[in-house]
Every structure is written in structure tokens, then in C-alpha cells.
Amino acid sequence: MVDFGGWEMPLHYGSQLDEHHQVRRDAGMFDVSHMLAVDIKGETARDFLRRLVANNVDKLTQPGKALYTCMLNLQGGIIDDLIIYFLTESHFRMVVNAGTADKDMAWMLARRDEIAPGLEITPRRDLAMIAVQGPNARTKVWQVIAGAQTATENLKLFQAAFFDEYFIARTGYTGEDGFEIMLPAGDAADFWNALHAAGVAPAGLGARDTLRLEAGMNLYGQDMDETTSPLESGLGWTVDLKSDRDFIGRQALLERPAAQQLIGLILLERGVLRSHQKVTTPSGDNESDGEITSGGFSPTLNQSIALARLPLTVSAGDEVQVVVRDKMLRAKAVKYPFVRNGKSLI
């Protein structure tokens, strides 16, 4: 058990590697109740979100549709990354990280008072969240929640629907198909046990981290924080600069184009890449060379991979050097994700 954003959470339930493979090959589940759902209710909800986040909620036209976005400060730094679900014109739901939940709430309430007084912003600590992920995840969920199949089998990726007491979203943090399911906290233990009985393996934070790293998904606090912009964090695709919508942080992003990039690394020698290891590049000038933001062993590829923040001069295919303890190890820059739907993309 480890502390994670103030929550006591299991790193693994047995073997982290087994849990990782179980998700890639079959189905695993994560208790992600530490993440906070926040309901935003009121006539001005959409206007508020247009201003609050860097991606454009006007892309959300169909009820249930979800959007991944960053919430920026005035300097263009990332306060948090989150998902927003469009439910009705007067009800949006977002899901934010555990470690940032308090500051997110404070930031949103202060912006609410400026932009949209009267809008209701309600943290939903009464909800638990269980992510069921893997090629067989949806089928196993349908075995457990009688009747849910009809309601959710036509959900596209990044789409959600209510069914009974459940809020079922086809989203995740593993690069596999599956659902993230919110339900009343008091029912979570029974639901977890029913999934377990249906053959869904419990998986801990350790596997969650290796899965998301293979899937090339950022971890807040590690790959990005309030000092880095989404443009320097591989998240340019989530920033809508095309419309003239004036979101918080927009001006700063326009004034501060990316000086670095997030790029994938594959270690070409034996060893394990870890966060904060220094990276030197052939074209770099040493002082501004980069460092690994997330590194680890990829169970699917059976070699070490990383995300690194490096100068823009580095391109996929270039060889770089990583300082691992007292050695310089060779690594290759690659485009990520490394793995999707059980298959290597490298």
C-alpha cells in the first residue's frame, strides 16, 4: 500500500506484471475512486467551460460525449488534466485527479464567482469509480450489470451513458477498450466482488502506471504540472487555438510557443529508464538537454521505455544518451504511444 494524493492505495495485489498482462490480454479492474467527479449544473455551464479549459467544449454536441482537456493557469501552465462529459445543456460532469482535486475546486469556484455566479459546482465524493479495462472488459461488465448491454453496447470511444444507478463511460487510462464506471460509493464493494467473480482481475497502481506509460498517456505531476504548457507536454492536440474563444491561458500560449517537446524513448541497452534521469542529445547544447519525465519497464515490449522532455531539435529515430547511475546508455527517440489494444506500435 502506498500514499497517492492522500489516498492509501495498493501498488499491486500480487504480481504487478501479471496484472499488467491481464489487462492487455483479458480484463482487469482498478479502484479509481480517489479521482473526483464534479457536477457542473446551470444554464451557464457551457459558457463557463468555454472559458475554463483549453479544449473546446463546443465539440460536445451529443449527450454522453466526453472531451479530454487541460485546465490552464494564466501563464499557460497546467493546473490539471481532466475529462468533461456533456450530459445536458445544463449539466456537465468532469473527472479530475486526486492529488489536484482541492486546488481544482478552489480554482473553479473562484472562476465561477467571476464568470458565472449562480452556477452549481458540486464535488461528488458520494460516487465511487471503478475502471474495467481490457479486450474482454465490456463483456464482463455486461455479465455483472444485468441489462446494461443494451444501454452501452453502442457507446463509441469517449462516450458515456447512465444506466440504473451506474454512469458508464467508454474511457480509460490503459490503451485498452473498457469502461470507467461511477456508482454510489456504498455499492462499490459489492460491484467489485461481482466483477471479480466474473473473472476480472484486481490491478493496482503499479500496473496502472506501466499500462498508461505504454499507452503514451501523461501522468499529472510527472509529465506535466503548473510550470509546463500543454504544447510542451505532447498535448497540443487538446488545445483549441483555432477558434477565437478566449480561454484562460490562451494569451500565454500564444506568447510562449513550445521550446521543448515530450517524446518517447526506447532503451537500446539493458537497464531501466526512470523519471528524472538526464538525457543528452546529439544536437543539444548540454545545458538545455532534457530529462525523462516517466520511465519504466514495458511488460508488453519486454524492454524499457520512457517519456522525456527534450529539445525540439530531436526527432523520432534519433539516438540519445541517458544517464543511468554511473553509465551513459543509448536510447532511441520514438513517436508514442508504444502500445495500443494489446499490440506494439514500435
Binding site: 501498488l11 499491486h12 504480481s15 504487478q16 506484471l17 503499479g206 506501466t210 539493458r270 537497464g271 531501466v272 526512470r274 519504466g296 519497464f297 511488460p299 524499457s304 547511475r325
Partner: protein, 129 residues
């Protein structure tokens, strides 16, 4: 907890066995591998390297973390376990069979090391704290 009586131990969770030929075999304990979790990389010292007692000389890395391995006694590296380069998980499967390296000791006196009972006591007191 599996702590064989015929081995000696260190506070840093290495096990040590004096062989009939006078060499000393070194690995990490079952407790250590449990703490680390699934092993993915083992780096052993070069054969011929002369080690001081307590010197960092090997690294075991799991999916979770990297841990240094220290020389329990002074000596020259006589052999390393070639299996671990391709199969580091052997350390998880049987920590007392998956030795890391062998030393030709400067002095084969192992009396300063912990007995199985001492090591067991140390683990129990760690759990309490």
C-alpha cells in the same frame, strides 16, 4: 518467511554462503525480492573486480524500483550468474537459488554477518516500527 539456517545474512538483505572451495556466493533474500516485486533487470559486477566490504557492486531493478546490492565481505568477483541477464524473474521464483555473484574472499571469516535467527529478528523489529 523463508530464511534458510545454513546461510548468513546482512542488514541490507543479502544472503551469503561459504562454499567448500572457499568462495562465497551472494544473492538477495526472499524478503528483499518480495519488497521489490517483479524483477526486470539485474546488473552484476565484472568478474575480476576487487570489492571492499560494503561496496555497491550490483543492482536489482523491479518494475517498481532499483536497489543496490552491497558486497557483504571484501574479495574478488570470481563468477556471476549468467541466467539473470535474460531471466531476472528467477530472483522472484527462488531467491536462494538465483545467486548474483561469487567472491574469492580476502578473508573467509563470516562471523560479522547475521545468522538466520538474527536476520529473522531484524525483520520482525522492522515490521513493528
Amino acid at each position: 518467511m523463508n530464511i534458510p539456517n545454513n546461510l548468513k545474512y546482512t542488514k541490507s538483505h543479502e544472503w551469503v554462503r561459504l562454499e567448500d572451495d572457499g568462495t562465497v556466493t551472494i544473492g538477495i533474500t526472499q524478503h528483499a525480492q518480495e519488497l521489490l516485486g517483479d524483477m526486470v533487470f539485474v546488473e552484476t559486477p565484472d568478474v575480476g573486480r576487487k570489492l571492499k566490504q560494503g561496496e555497491e557492486c550490483a543492482v536489482v531493478e523491479s518494475v517498481k524500483a532499483a536497489a543496490d546490492v552491497y558486497a557483504p565481505i571484501a574479495g574478488e568477483v570470481a563468477a556471476v550468474n549468467p541466467d539473470l541477464e535474460t531471466a531476472p524473474e528467477k530472483v522472484n521464483q527462488d531467491a536462494y537459488a538465483a545467486w548474483l555473484f561469487k567472491l574469492k574472499p580476502v578473508n573467509a571469516d563470516l562471523n560479522h554477518l547475521l545468522s538466520a535467527a538474527d536476520y529473522q529478528k531484524m525483520l520482525e523489529s522492522e515490521e513493528d516500527s
